[in-house]
């Protein structure tokens, strides 16, 4: 898709990281699974997959991945997060003292729609894309977002997709559908970031 060959780091401590890998490889990006900090500096983009945020957050700390990943995000490396990944990026989590990367000024509510019975799919109007198939699985939503956070998608007035500087966060799972448009948009961001830092 692009002239600049980019390498994405898929944070792979737990969850549906293979699904992201399949999407981005389909789009022509090189993907590496990140389980320790070694390969992190060679990545032009970071992907935080769905899974259990409590497990992922704990493992990231134990594997000394936490500070390096946070530093990369703050340095401006384009970051794409879905579901649990979005929770890890939230500055605060409702009814939870845990804080993870906390790099997007917003407040997330975990399992916000309820247990698995309340999981659903729907088409939502995603900013810059149009109607997009959205898969919500024990999904969070954002109760509030900071003033510089761009809202990309809402469901019943709840924020479920945002962009903040170099970070893209979604409460749903684009990687579980065949629709690669969101991933492509993000990848275009990664390409221009890579071109910029390499020049």
């Amino acid at each position: 898709m692009s002239k600049v060959k980019v390498r994405l780091g898929i944070v792979a401590v737990q969850g549906a990281f293979v699904e992201h890998r399949r999407v981005f490889e389909r789009l022509g990006a090189e993907c590496v699974e990140i389980r320790n900090a070694r390969l992190l500096d060679e990545c032009d983009g970071l992907v935080l997959p769905g899974g259990e945020s409590t497990t992922q957050g704990k493992l990231a700390r134990e594997l000394s991945l936490f500070e390096p990943v946070r530093a990369a995000i703050l340095r401006g490396v384009p970051t794409f997060a879905t579901c649990a990944g979005l929770i890890l990026l939230a500055e605060r989590i409702v009814d939870d003292s845990a804080r993870y990367f906390a790099t997007i000024p917003c407040v997330a509510r975990r399992n916000a729609f309820g247990r698995q019975n309340a999981s659903f799919t729907t088409a939502l109007d995603v900013r810059g894309i149009g109607a997009f198939p959205c898969v919500f699985i024990r999904a969070p939503y954002l109760e509030s977002v900071g003033k510089d956070v761009e809202i990309l998608a809402t469901y019943c007035d709840r924020v479920v997709g945002v962009r903040y500087r170099n970070q893209w966060g979604f409460a749903f799972h684009p990687e579980l559908t065949d629709d690669d448009r969101l991933a492509s948009q993000y990848l275009a961001d990664v390409v221009s970031y890579a071109a910029r830092i390499r020049s």
Binding site: A16, F17, N117, T121, I137, L176
Partner: protein, 304 residues
């Protein structure tokens, strides 16, 4: 839930969407450890130790084995207490073929139902028609045919039927290897051979064809039964499991929280022997195991 509510519930969501979100939940659990717990306190320990989900049980398999008699679905009160104690998904077991136990678990808003051979089967011919439920099901399988039969019935996740409560990994290893071998055979077979395979597996041709094209099961496959050390868990991942269930192995050991956290680490880093050495250190007493030829009750034979 009244029948009317149920109809409304079902009409809100189409079957293919339900399949997507239910198989999807299993995908989110990948690379994780699902732990058996018997009370709210153990559930909280499991969550703090990094479990991706807990299995709510009245008795862990080792005790089911020791006590004997008929093992049934757990008390709903216990399940509710465990649901209140944690924020991760809560699973519970019903007996094979026990449609009403499954309906009761669904009414409790359970996140995943395990139609399990660990409990005494309620039906020696039929499994539950899992397509009739909104809730996802996980079922055990010893080979590819068994896995595909459960998927055809609507299972959203498969696990091996390693002998529960024994602390012995040998059966789970056998099932994992068998499924992998049979999958590679299916992947490399000629297209005109799928009709005969569908007969052998006793499943629709379309499911055999889908699996052949994917080169893997259409749902997530975990290892279960006999996992008691970080090395056991890593072995299962090495052999192709996408995550592990740990039953008696944790809360029958000397230091459950430490062992649980180590097994979680081992699943993520199964290909890093140095790290495995570190997390295997000083875990205290493991559960006492039972050898295959010492077992009186073979649970894997239940429900085929």
């Amino acid at each position: 839930m009244t029948q009317k509510d149920k109809d409304k519930d079902m009409s809100n969501i189409s079957t293919s969407e339900r399949v997507l979100v239910n198989r999807g939940l299993a995908q989110m659990l990948k690379g994780g450890v699902i732990m058996d717990v018997t009370n709210a306190e153990q559930a909280a320990i499991a969550e703090r130790s990094g479990a991706v989900a807990v299995m709510a049980l009245e008795r862990i398999p080792a005790d089911i084995r020791a006590v004997g008699g008929v093992a049934r679905m757990s008390d709903p009160k216990l399940i509710r207490e465990i649901q209140r104690a944690v924020s991760i998904p809560v699973m519970a077991k019903c007996r094979i073929g026990h449609i009403v136990e499954a309906q009761i678990l669904a009414a409790l808003d359970i996140d995943f139902i395990d139609e399990s051979e660990v409990l005494t089967p309620a039906d020696d011919v039929y499994h539950i028609d899992k397509r009739q439920f909104t809730a996802p099901f996980v079922c055990g399988a010893r080979d590819l045919g068994e896995a595909l039969r459960r998927i055809a019935e609507g299972a959203s996740m498969i696990r091996t039927k390693g002998e529960p409560g024994t602390g012995n990994i040998v059966q789970a290893t056998r099932h994992m290897r068998r499924i992998t071998t049979e999958l590679s055979r299916l992947k490399s077979c000629r297209e005109d051979e799928i009709f005969e395979l569908a007969k052998e597996f006793r499943v629709p041709i379309s499911l055999v064809d889908e699996t052949r094209r994917l080169g893997r099961l259409p749902v997530v496959n975990f290892a279960a039964g006999g996992v008691s050390t970080p090395a056991d868990a890593a072995l299962m991942m090495l052999l192709g499991a996408e995550g592990v269930f740990v039953g008696s192995g944790i809360f029958k050991s000397g230091d459950p929280a430490k062992r649980a956290a180590s097994i979680v680490q081992a699943v993520t880093n199964y290909d890093d022997p140095k790290l495995l050495a570190k997390v295997s250190e000083d875990l205290g007493e493991p559960m006492v195991g039972i050898n295959e030829d010492e077992i009186e009750l073979i649970m894997e034979e239940r429900g085929r």
